[in-house]
Amino acid sequence: MSERKDTPEQAEFREYCRRWLAENRPTPPPFRLPQSPVEVMTEQQRVWLCAWQKKVHQAGLIACDYPREYGGGGHQGFQRIASAELARAGVPYFINVIGLGMAAPTILHHGTEEQKRRYLPPLFSSDEIWCQGFSEPGSGSDLAGAQTFAERRGDQWVINGHKVWTTLAHFASWMILLARSSREHKYDGLTYFIVPIAGAPGVTVRPLVKMTGETGFNEVLFEDLHVPDSLRLDAVGKGWTVAMTTLLYERGAAESPGGGGGESHEDRIAALIELAKHTRRDGRSAWENPVTRDRILKLLIRVEALKQLGRRARVEALTDHPMRLPLQGKLLTTEISQDVAAAALEVEGMSSTLYLRDENAPQGGRWPHAYMNSYGLTIAAGTSEIQRNILGERVLGMAKSK
């Protein structure tokens, strides 16, 4: 079954994706996989997930639209198909989420020919894991206030500073780093680098423990890390512009080379409805409680709306401003996740007190976990409040808030 608007080549590729996914769906590992790549903690999990991503890359479902010389498939308009089919198949996520979602497109847009050839192929295959060094203890929402300093010494840069909330740094070979190269200008004083993490002298990675009790993200300290100038991405002082490219992808406003896998909002809503139908209290199921059901249906409708938002964003005649819909994606997807998890807790009632290790916890204790984790989503990559400022200023043209 092809989609109506597929070209013959795209229809053939879609068919290939479906066949490959049907034949190569991995059997679940004997250990627990975390709900998302940002909670991968153990070496066992890492090895299993890296093997899966590598296999998908070799099959040509990752980086389909990237040039062949950078480890891509050299096609056009294939990634959307591969990502959709991966999502539809409900296969595991890709571990190199920061690399695929943020580092790769940033390097493609701003990197030199040598940088693209060197870094992109092992990124796609997950032979090298990537992390992102943007937030600092003193600059979160005010990203341009970053203080990690890169000092030029000949053809070297010496880096000192402190990055936080660094997902996957504990496995990372490389980090995309936003650093200050001049204290005289706020925005124009920033420069963007690729820096080594694993085994690099002067780099310390310390796990941070989330409110869920899990690690998966870290703080990274730089004490006189020396990197050659060849690891600078784009011009000195252009760091803010490069960071905006990264954020465009991080917030889902542009398509990454390896989306898909993992659980979709539709899967989550389906799980929530199942939960409601099977949770009994006071002689009826939660689904039979009209107030609860209404709350779930509102969410079901919003999930459909989010899906249609992505579809409509590509129909120029039905969009008023080119960035109006893309810039809403991050805000919506994270707030819906939070609201779905909150509704699930309401459905579970007292059972929502039971956590991951409890054998009586409904659906493995996923909902209290997802609810707590959802705050990571509405805070990371620009809080919901920052997203609303951006929408109000860039799309609606209201005065800039401070």
Partner: protein, 382 residues
């Protein structure tokens, strides 16, 4: 699979863009205000409430072919896709235009699902510019197709209708009604001319300035059996199959009105200064306005999804249309509330245009069932 672009192609864009140009000219907010909100006394204190609309503009809409849009070609129409009709309704809503177009479209949707031979003359009247309205709601204001305030009885080769249809939209702009009535065989549908002997229109005093509404009483209204457009066995099914398009087109109108509320409130937040800053500088103002936009874009996406399903995937149409109307009702409520609140004191006055949209949206929220009702019905489809 549905087309990725909702089937919104060149023809649909041309229709929408030409409608925009036409409505910019004939239905500016100044003209709409002069038409419906010139005088609060006339609007709310008259013994007979006004049913104001511009007959010349209506005639031009007919000349542009808008009443023929949803009519099948076999009855002289142009049978445009629902995505086109939805786009037009969005433009109508954006201007809060008083006209019988929506009611006439609803009637068209029912007639084209009814028995072709019996419905054809009525559809031809619509193509020719006759306004039509549904008289299918009982005194409870129920939107269940099986509930009706009328009863039909056969007498020889005539049918006699008795009872009252409530909440009939744009009743005084309609030349005929599409009526549901309980009969021995179920709920049958009829078309009845507004001036038919025994038909009396009792106008309601309503809040909305851009519509008129009435109770329509049928007192021993005797019509030929040929005026039956759906027999008792199929009437409910006919209404049900017309419902997705009705819900979607209404939701489209509400989306357009909400977009006007957003743009007008945003413009005000740029020019009105307090504490040395434009209002939009303050996040307590900026963020709710952004929330209006986000809500509108959810609704608008659901509207085109539903319209596209009506055009190509009828088995999913009702589900998607209920989603669209549920979302439209909630979005309308939110945008209406914020548009008044964020205008501050002036927003509470008669002279501020946000009141016109606030009232139209309130009315639309309830029409065909509010958000809670849509979700209740949606649950039955899951």
């Amino acid at each position: 699979m549905q087309p990725k672009d909702y089937g919104f192609g060149e023809d649909e864009r041309i229709l929408r863009d030409s409608a925009r140009r036409f409505l910019d000219e004939v239905a500016s907010i100044d003209k709409v205000r002069k038409l419906v909100a010139a005088d609060h006394g006339e609007a709310y204190e008259s013994a007979t409430p006004p049913a104001r609309y511009d007959g010349q503009v209506w005639q031009k809409m007919v000349d542009l072919g808008w009443t023929a849009l949803a009519v099948p070609e076999s009855a002289g129409g142009v049978a445009m896709k629902c995505v086109a009709v939805a786009a037009l309704a969005e433009e109508i809503g954006r201007r809060a235009l008083p006209s019988p177009l929506l009611s006439t479209l609803f009637s068209t949707f029912v007639l084209r699902e009814a028995e072709a031979a019996a419905a054809r003359p009525w559809l031809e009247k619509i193509v020719g510019g006759a306004g039509a309205a549904l008289a299918i709601t009982n005194e409870e204001g129920s939107w269940e197709p099986a509930r009706t305030g009328l009863r039909a009885q056969a007498k020889g080769d005539q049918i006699v209708l008795d009872g009252t249809a409530h909440f009939v939209q744009d009743a005084r702009k309609a030349s005929f009604f599409v009526v549901s009535a309980a009969s021995d065989g179920g709920v049958a549908l009829y078309a009845v001319a507004a001036e038919h002997p025994g038909v009396t229109i009792h106008p309601d005093h309503i809040v909305d300035l851009t519509r008129d509404q009435a109770r329509v009483a049928f007192d021993r209204v005797s019509i030929p059996a040929a005026a039956q457009i759906a027999p008792g066995e199929t009437g409910v099914a006919v209404l049900r199959s017309a419902l997705p398009a009705m819900l979607t087109v209404l939701a489209a109108d509400m989306t357009g009105a909400a977009e006007w509320q957003l743009q007008t409130t945003t413009a005000y937040a740029k020019v009105r200064h307090q504490f040395d800053h434009p209002l939009g500088f303050f996040q307590a103002v900026k963020h709710p306005i952004v929330n209006m936009m986000v809500a509108i874009d959810e609704t608008r996406s659901l509207v085109y999804n539903a319209a596209c399903a009506i055009d190509g995937e009828p088995e999913l149409a009702l589900r998607y249309a209920r989603m669209a109307k549920s979302s439209a009702s909630d979005t309308a409520a939110f945008c209406s509330g914020r548009s008044v609140q964020l205008h501050g004191g002036i927003g509470f006055t008669w002279e501020c245009d946000v009141q016109i949209y606030f009232k139209r949206q309130r009315h639309s929220q309830m029409l065909l069932g509010d958000g809670v009702y849509q979700r209740e019905k949606l649950a039955e489809l899951l």
